[in-house]
Amino acid sequence: MGRQGQIWITIICIILGIILSAQLRTQAGIRQDIPTKRIEEMASLLNEAESERDKLRLQLYRLQAETDEIMNKEKSIAAGIQIDLQQARMAAGFTEVQGPGLLITLSDSTRVAQTGQDPNLFLIHDEDLLKLTNELKASGAEAIALNGHRLVASTEIRCAGPTISVNNTRISPPYVVEAIGDPAGLESALKMRGGIVETMQFWGIQVTMEKKDQLQLPAYVGSHTFKFAQPVDKEAK
């Protein structure tokens, strides 16, 4: 065997080995076989974090009660109501809001479905948008708008033929999702392995994410009347 040949073959083999182990890791990621030990470890970490969260939540309730008390004492009742109203309107999505966040653009796949493949898999469905907005809410988005329609408690995201119905208005691709919240946190939640964005990209759906320092979300424009629901009077109980 030639000496020179051996050296070159060995160098190439090292490169091949690096690519090989990266590919093995990718394949392992697809199969999702996380060792059970790791799962147990993570479960205990989760339990710890959850109990700490509950403790902090109790503290928050106590402090909120205290601030409410102080506010009632210090300020006139009218001013307190004004602040409450402002906050309630903001929480309900009835005011325009601005702040840092994430801008996500989704377009249907340009890939041609191969014979035997369902072309539906390459389109964006109401479910995809639901999952995406759900993930954003779960990772702490404070306000979300879809193609300029603010998502509120009564907002539907529903399949409407070739379009998607949001706030009783039909929207079509490209879908632009604006979310106010911690930009890095929102992005990493979406980019999670096996997460929503990876799944969509697997089918060739084009997803672009842009972290923004300043986003301005419109207010909910529809009306909100209650025909059936009545508030429960706590004092009467």
């Binding site: 073959i9 190439i12 490169i15 080995g17 690096i18 990266a22 890791r25």
Partner: protein, 121 residues
């Protein structure tokens, strides 16, 4: 035979230490590229046995085969033709042919060695 194996082992260890992976969307293309790379390495070892190893041909072959295999697979996906199978078949057949040739060379070498010994006795 010993050095290439060590090389692959070193590479895999390096790959494990630096935890990078490919996006799942590209997994198919990387797999074909790895197959092409394996084919080049076996071809290189074979030509080394036959004493007509050329480093330029070997290295250019390694990279261009890997890239072309991945690109052809990609184009096939776009066109809706499974060129993927053609690459798997072509490289697979060549890997086995090279393995067979290497085995023959090894057997011949061992036989020659034995003959020389008997002649010396």
């Amino acid at each position: 035979m010993f050095w290439p194996l060590t090389g692959i082992l070193i590479g895999m260890i390096v790959g494990l230490v630096f935890p990078f992976s490919f996006p799942i969307a590209y997994a198919r293309y990387i797999a074909v590229a790895i197959l092409a790379g394996l084919d080049s390495v076996f071809g290189g070892i074979r030509s080394n046995f036959e004493r007509n190893f050329d480093p330029v041909i070997f290295i250019s072959g390694f990279f261009s085969n890997a890239v072309f295999a991945a690109v052809l697979t990609y184009i096939g996906d776009r066109l809706g033709v499974e060129i993927y199978y053609a690459a798997v078949f072509a490289f697979g057949v060549r890997i086995f042919q090279n393995l067979a040739a290497m085995r023959r060379h090894l057997v011949e070498q061992i036989r020659d060695h034995g003959k020389k010994r008997r002649a010396a006795q």
